[in-house]
């Protein structure tokens, strides 16, 4: 047995924008044991939603669980409440939600791709990705009125309509964005440096993915065909050309390529959404109080997001439970590190696109 060295990684780390902490035990370069601590930013949001806020306000509170997938959280919550109260949401509102949710996915995936390039030491590509991401941020601002905290969805519909001018601008900018994304795809797919750095590193085998219940792009990169957009009917994804994307390999490269392909698929869907936008109301009035329990699954950019809502005809909910995608992926991360070289750790962590403010809530 060689000398064991303890290396703390995080909670503040140059390669990691999130407050997660791993404590690695290494023998020379090889990791032999790891401990995780994810609770640095626990804010007690579940508790606050069950005591302080009325059920109509909770949608705005859960949006603040995470900035990157704000729309998914609100969407999960309102879908659950609408199911509890049997509210029929107008078709147009569903399409507008779909628009916001796919814009959100594009921006989140571009962020993940950019970060991944950065930890591979490829600053140049990182800058390119983030420059193009700015386009989709502007579009989000145009549609919802804010860059990240959208506050777009409420119980019963959405808050803003799409004006013809906005729609025109959306189409123009989406065209540009699509071209840029195609160019990025080419780079991410064929660049020699990237292949050298990412191929065969951090491999999740299909068996591992099944055993550890991996979710989201990491699962799909390991041939596990699970996508909530396919398995839970919360928005009309199938009408706008949704494709299930899986890859072989399960390494960092495959995870990144899943994100690239999904970004392109989302962009295609966005055009179809604009083409097929139905007429009608964007909101229905809400009456009554939630009673009973409901659970929904939502495909957030990082994977399956689970909401459990229980109410008993009161303004304040009895229980709200949020199970976020990164939380579900922590076990596989931990498993993956054992036996890995320490130098590969940052890239592997980022390839899961971890979101710790979600995880700790």
């Amino acid at each position: 047995m060689g000398n064991r060295i303890t290396i703390p990684f995080g909670s503040q780390h140059v390669a990691l924008p999130e407050p997660i902490r791993f404590v690695f035990q290494t023998e020379n370069e090889k990791i032999v044991d790891v401990e995780v601590d994810v609770g640095y930013v626990h804010r007690g949001i579940e508790k606050a939603c069950m005591t302080k806020f009325k059920y109509t306000q909770v949608g705005y509170v859960v949006a603040r669980v995470c900035g990157l997938c704000a729309i998914s959280h609100t969407l999960g919550y309102v879908t659950a409440v609408e199911r509890l109260m049997n509210i029929e949401v107008p078709k147009k509102a569903l399409y507008l939600r779909l628009l916001a949710s796919e814009l959100d996915r594009v921006h989140s995936h571009l962020l993940a791709m950019g970060h991944l390039a950065e930890v591979a030491g490829y600053e140049n590509l990182f800058m390119h990705t983030f420059r193009d991401r700015e386009l989709v941020m502007e579009l989000q601002e145009l549609v919802t009125g804010n860059r990240i905290q959208f506050d777009y969805v409420t119980v019963g519909g959405v808050n803003r309509d799409l004006t013809p001018e906005v729609e025109k601008e959306l189409r123009e900018k989406l065209k540009i964005l699509q071209e840029k994304c195609l160019w990025l795809k080419d780079v991410f797919e064929n660049d020699y440096t990237i292949k050298l750095r990412w191929k065969g590193v951090g491999v999740i085998t299909p068996e591992m993915a099944i055993e550890l219940n991996v979710v989201g792009p990491p699962a799909r990169a390991s041939e596990l065909a699970t996508d909530v957009r396919n398995e839970f009917n919360y928005l009309p994804f199938k009408e706008v050309g949704y494709k299930l994307i899986t890859m072989k390999g399960g390494d960092i490269y495959a995870r990144n390529m899943v994100r690239v392909e999904e970004t392109l698929n989302s962009l295609d869907m966005l055009f179809n959404i604009l083409d097929g936008m139905p007429e009608g109301d964007i909101k229905v009035p809400v009456k009554g109080l939630p009673e009973g329990e409901a659970f929904v699954r939502i495909e957030a950019p990082r994977g399956e997001l689970f909401y459990y809502v229980k109410g008993s005809k009161k303004m304040v909910l009895d229980r709200l439970r949020i199970r976020v995608p990164t939380f579900a992926n922590v076990p596989v991360m931990k498993e993956l590190f054992i036996g890995m070289d320490y130098a590969d750790v940052p890239a592997t962590v980022i390839s899961f696109d971890p979101c710790l403010s979600c995880t700790a809530r």
């Binding site: 609770g39 099944i210 055993e211 699970t226 398995e231 229980k310 199970r323 700790a360």
Partner: protein, 114 residues
């Protein structure tokens, strides 16, 4: 939505889930605890791969000081949800360490009522 809800007693949870769980077919989502006033209602959620809105839910009730059986022998990734139960509801889960979310000086079992 197709939901199959199975009520079991706390002692039989592990056997019931072991008999049913096929990792190729079912996806374990999470275990959730709700305080129903003096008791905790526990729910284990599963969903089927590739099928639309098919769920299976196991429900059991526990007292505050009961020992909750762990599922990590059957589902290795369940540890993190179980640790959360131990932390936020202050339950005694087999093999769970406290302190995933909470610090030693934070309030104990914040999700309990009252």
């Amino acid at each position: 939505m197709k939901v199959e809800e199975v009520k079991v007693s706390l002692r039989d949870v592990r056997r019931a889930i072991k008999d049913f769980y096929d990792p190729e077919e079912w996806h374990f989502i999470t275990v959730n605890g709700t305080d129903v006033g003096g008791r905790i209602e526990l729910k284990w959620f599963f969903t089927k791969y590739g099928e639309e809105e098919a769920f299976k839910v196991f429900t059991a009730e526990a007292n505050y000081d009961d020992e909750i059986p762990t599922l990590t022998y059957i589902i290795p990734s369940a540890w993190i949800s179980e640790w959360e139960l131990a932390d936020l509801l202050g339950l005694n889960v087999e093999g769970a360490k406290k302190g995933l979310f909470l610090d030693p000086d934070s309030p104990k079992a914040p999700l309990r009522r009252g």
